[in-house]
């Protein structure tokens, strides 16, 4: 399935946990410093850019060649660190999607359902495959203030591979996997070591 960003709410509604997709269009990197900034300062200038848009939990390696920025490595970072901010970000900036790794908690899962958005999982460490999906760096914000890994990079991507792991209907693959593996762990501990 190919999805174009910004993503309309009808497409979001049709996505189910477990679907794989390829993303095209604009995605905006934001990690710890940017999340704090977006919530505490509530800068209005990003509202249009982020409406129905996608936030990418990523701190890329970026090179300056002449007047162009080139992304040299760009895999996802752990999303759970943004759990305290994400529900509010989804509401405030009308985000349609989040790309990250490792999944997020109940607060975000509820916000995904309430405001119709999804969590896309990208494979952790896939810096080269994902950097090749970036066709252009459109702009960058807060570079001087936050430094390169924490800045908000506006990336234009093609065929960016992701899996929907948290949908807008309250389903989370992460939650299911955690519970399933916990039942196995229980059994392994009760059984002790057996060859």
């Amino acid at each position: 399935m190919i999805l174009n960003s910004p993503i309309n709410k009808k497409d979001i509604d049709s996505l189910k946990a477990g679907d794989t997709a390829y993303l095209n269009g604009i995605i905006v990197t934001a990690r710890d410093a940017a999340h704090k900034y977006l919530i505490e300062k509530k800068p209005r200038k990003y509202k249009k850019l982020l409406k129905n848009g996608i936030i990418y939990h990523c701190g890329p390696v970026v090179d300056r060649v002449g007047k162009k920025w080139i992304v040299a490595a760009a895999g996802p970072t752990t999303s759970m660190r943004e759990e305290p901010y994400t529900a509010e970000i989804i509401r405030e900036y009308e985000i349609s999607g989040i790309i990250g790794k490792g999944g997020m908690g109940d607060k975000t899962l509820n916000a995904l359902r309430k405001y119709k958005a999804v969590y896309f999982h990208a494979i952790g460490g896939l810096a080269q495959v994902l950097a090749e999906c970036v066709v252009d760096v459109k702009d960058v914000f807060m570079l001087k203030e936050f430094g390169s890994p924490e800045a908000m990079w506006i990336l234009d991507v093609r065929d960016f591979p992701v899996t929907v792991t948290m949908d807008s209907h309250g389903n989370s693959l992460h939650k299911i996997m955690y519970e399933k593996s916990e039942a196995v762990l229980d059994k392994l501990i009760k059984d002790g070591t057996r060859e």
Binding site: A33, K101, G125, S148, E182, L188
Partner: protein, 302 residues
Amino acid sequence: MDNEKLLDTFVELIRKTSCNLPVDVVSSIEGGLLNEKRGSIAYDTLQIILKNIEIAREKSLPMCQDTGTPVFYINLPCGISQGDICNKIKKAIKISVRKLYLRPNVVDTLTGKNLGGGTGAGYPVIHFEEWKKDYIRTILMLKGGGCENVGAQYSLPSPIKALEDRDSRLNAGRDLEGVRRCILDAVHKAQGRGCAPGVIGVCIGGDRVSSYEESKRQLIKSLDDKNENPVLYKLEREIARDANKLGIGPMGFGGRTTLLGVKIGSICRIPASYFVSITYMCWAYRRRGFEYKGGKVKKWLY
């Protein structure tokens, strides 16, 4: 000592470590692929990880954008200046940031400011040890942050949090069964965040600091190395087998490949303490090394 040459060698070490995964790790990921069902999400995930490793090597670019904490383990013959080596490493890191082998990864903790050059208070981490051999051995690990955050330390006897409400008998006591429970608990909790399939380094014993330090040091062993202690060897195998039954799989999407390896070491403790420390390493298990003598590289390691 030939100064320029050693500096160049450190830069080359950083390039190799960041861009080119050692063969024992790649083989192990390939082995995981054979264990997964073709077309499953676990299979596809491992396949694209292998593709990523390949591109990084061909382009000499970081396989993961988080180029991590550089941790150096250096053995020196008597009489070589540690300060001199330290300065060369810092210079090599600055060059490596410019060449894009490393991300500018060092942040002032209090101000949040990125220091730009990749060095700062406490960075990089360098462990020196004098030895009787006549050459320098350097091993570098680039330790990513996602997996570093899921490391764990247990002070035994310890309740296993996930289980304590249900059955108090499941606490981890001061024996190998207790150690096993801690490790499986840590692997379970790491899921999703630690970029599986990973490798865990474990230390039993020590104090809080030496125990964590030794658990990370376990990861300089090649995956092919066999533990010389038969008790620990057996424990490593049992834990690898059991952890892979958890069904967590690559990136926590489900599958058979949760751990690529387990390395366990033990150091002495005082009667009052019994620590089990676990360092988790993601699939991007970046470790390289060299031996250096007479102004040139004697051998590249791994």
